[in-house]
């Protein structure tokens, strides 16, 4: 039972380490929801600010379209300027002393009266926050145009359907859950993967390279515990921390969703339903082998390194190997199929999306499990072999 003695000791040691606890609890439970909530709230407030902002709009040639000009003037959040020449409005809009300009050509009103098509020129700066000037001007012109068209249809006693030959009647068969899983469901596995990785990395560093740095490796190597006992005890602790961190990240998502007042109630209900116990257990059964892979790889690197610092520098590029497939899984359009189900990490991301959407195909899930458990098995075996090499343990 040497492995159990090592497991208990390493667990006690790690639970007393503030950095590990912060990585396991603080980051996913406090920092992540706080950060996400702040981003969402700041974005909402910026959108609201742009919507209610008083815009400086130049209207040139207003005499040619008195009705349209009157609508611009009636807009409460428009500050209208009329005494600027056409060349200056471009420069002023570019410099952002003006938010936008409408140039009405002469003969505009006559064309409208003759039931012809007229045009106005809109000068705007798309890089300006939320493109508010363009949107609001287009809204006013669009409403004005629609009213004219309706008046023409009435006056000429025309059938309105003449102007819309084909109408699309939309019927979305995707449930709210499926839509949400496709659009936002990729974010959840991204969190599991990143936090599972982060949560296992620090214990791996401490239990491998840290042991070498402290000189305690020789103490346990000269004890009756076998190399396998040592590596198994350490591996289980590293994996446990990875899994717990991933679970805490789910709890963080719960908290985040729960306390977001702007999220629609039905979306909230869907998210809460999606994160039900059964689904979480299903997802965690996939997270388990991936975390085993992280733990075995992290421990192998850590035990190979001469110091904590060297281990950190070797592990840094590993971040990309993890993040890239996890990020691809977030992209819309990527689905679980026979090819993607074989690619570790990407398959976890896509399988999680499928589980959340409720459209799991058993054969593909079997392939995902096979791929992930094979990866975990290979990495654990490699780690145990690696730990038995004298060149690794006493590398100098």
């Amino acid at each position: 039972m040497g492995w159990f003695v090592i497991f208990v000791k390493e667990l006690t040691d790690m639970l007393r380490d503030r950095r590990t606890l912060f990585m396991m609890i603080g980051a996913p439970l406090v920092i992540m929801p706080l950060l996400m909530t702040t981003i969402i709230k700041v974005t909402e407030s910026q959108v609201e600010k742009a919507r209610s902002k008083e815009l400086k709009i130049a209207v040139l040639g207003g005499d040619a379209a008195p009705e349209l000009t009157a609508r611009f003037s009636a807009e409460e959040r428009f500050n209208i300027f009329t005494d600027i020449d056409e060349d200056s409005v471009r420069a002023m809009t570019a410099e952002e002393t003006l938010d936008g300009a409408v140039i009405i050509p002469s003969g505009f009103y006559e064309l409208i009266k003759m039931d012809r098509q007229a045009s106005v020129k809109l000068i705007f700066k798309s890089s300006e926050s939320f493109d508010a000037a363009r949107r609001r001007i287009e809204n006013i012109v669009g409403q004005y145009s629609a009213e004219i068209v309706n008046e023409r249809i009435d006056r000429l006693d025309l059938d309105p359907t003449l102007f819309e030959a084909v109408v699309i009647v939309k019927e979305d068969v995707a449930s709210t859950r499926e839509s949400f899983a496709e659009n936002a469901g990729g974010f959840l596995p991204y969190l599991f993967i990143i936090f599972g990785f982060m949560g296992s990395m620090y214990p791996a560093l401490d239990l491998g390279a840290g042991e070498k740095e402290r000189g305690t490796l020789e103490t346990i190597l000269s004890s009756p515990a076998s190399r396998f006992d040592i590596v198994l005890g350490k591996f289980l602790v590293v994996m446990l921390f990875g899994v717990l961190t991933a679970l805490v990240a789910i709890l963080g998502v719960f908290i985040m969703v729960w306390q977001l007042p702007s999220l629609e109630v039905d979306i909230k209900a869907v998210v809460m339903d999606m994160l039900g116990a059964q689904r979480i257990i299903f997802i965690m059964s996939l997270v388990l082998p991936v975390t085993a892979f992280f733990a075995a790889t992290g421990l192998a690197i850590s035990i190979f390194a001469k110091s904590f610092k060297e281990a950190q520098s070797i592990m840094a590029p590993l971040n990309f190997v993890i993040i890239i497939p996890a990020a691809i899984g977030m992209l819309p359009g990527f689905e679980l199929n026979y090819a993607t189900a074989a690619i570790p990490i990407l398959n976890l991301a896509l399988a999680t999306k499928a589980i959340l959407a409720g459209n799991v195909e058993p054969i593909l899930m079997a392939e995902v499990y096979l791929s992930l458990f094979a990866l975990a098995g290979i990495s654990i075996f490699a780690c145990a072999k690696w730990f038995n090499r004298e060149e690794t343990l006493f590398r100098s």
């Binding site: 305690t216 000269s222 004890s223």
Partner: protein, 256 residues
């Protein structure tokens, strides 16, 4: 007792290591760290393994402790072969270096408990041994304080306690006093003497000839992996051609 017979250890050299070692190693794939070394360490005696840095002392001690496997030859510790019964060998040894080798987040009690658990000691025996050692080393006042908050002297005492908690028949000290202050080094020397008085087999490596004169009953001089002297302290003194231990050591190693 420790019996080392015709022990050799080769290390594979990486391309980088071959470059770093210079022309002599350019075409060699291995480095002979220990070459055909034989000696015996008796219970109740202190055996000094003496040699300059890189002589092969640590490699020899690591083989004795089963951390490394010999390339050829054999080692038996307390009657067990290191390759055939490594677990039994480890059960009989305590290993100590100059590094305190402790876990900062554990207390001295937890540290020795961990080692005792690894050695499979039952709780009654553990309590008895722990109380005796903690009392002997005057450790009661800080027994439940985390190691990170201990002074270097307290840490060294904890390190001694974890080395002998399981009452090993053989104690291996790898340069135990290197880099230590006088007071701490003296405590280690006292521990070595106590081990001898208790009838344990003690082997320690050093390059301090003063320690050899002070402690050793038997000694071996090793250089570049080869043994240059093996015998009792009296035999060493009787064949000395130089005036002091240091000069004799330099003469022997210089001749090599």
């Amino acid at each position: 007792m420790i019996k080392v017979s015709n022990l050799s250890k080769d290390f594979k050299l990486s391309r980088k290591q071959r470059r770093e070692h210079g022309d002599e190693y350019r075409d060699r794939k291995t480095l002979k760290a220990v070459e055909n070394v034989s000696f015996e360490c008796e219970p109740g005696r202190v055996f000094g393994l003496i040699g300059p840095n890189g002589a092969g002392k640590t490699t020899t001690l690591r083989i004795i402790s089963t951390m490394l496997k010999p390339s050829s030859g054999s080692v038996t510790v307390a009657g067990f072969d290191t390759q055939e019964s490594p677990k039994e060998v480890r059960r009989n040894i305590g290993f100590m270096t100059a590094q305190t080798a402790l876990y900062d987040r554990l207390t001295p009690t937890e540290m020795v408990q961990y080692i005792a658990d690894l050695y499979g000691m039952n709780s009654t025996l553990f309590e008895e041994r722990k109380n005796r050692i903690f009392s002997m080393l005057d450790m009661e006042s800080f027994a439940d304080r985390r190691t990170a908050r201990l002074s270097s002297g307290m840490k060294q005492k904890t390190s001694i306690a974890r080395t002998i908690i399981h009452d090993p028949a053989v104690v291996v000290f790898d340069e135990p006093t290197t880099g230590l202050d006088v007071m701490t080094a003296r405590r280690i020397i006292e521990l070595i003497r106590t081990c001898r008085e208790e009838g344990k087999t003690v082997i320690f490596s050093t390059h301090h000839m003063a320690e050899v004169r002070l402690l050793c009953d038997d000694l071996a001089i090793i250089h570049s992996g080869k043994l240059y002297f093996h015998g009792t302290k009296e035999q060493f003194e009787s064949q000395m051609q130089a005036d002091s231990y240091e000069d004799e050591f330099v003469r022997l190693v210089g001749e090599a």
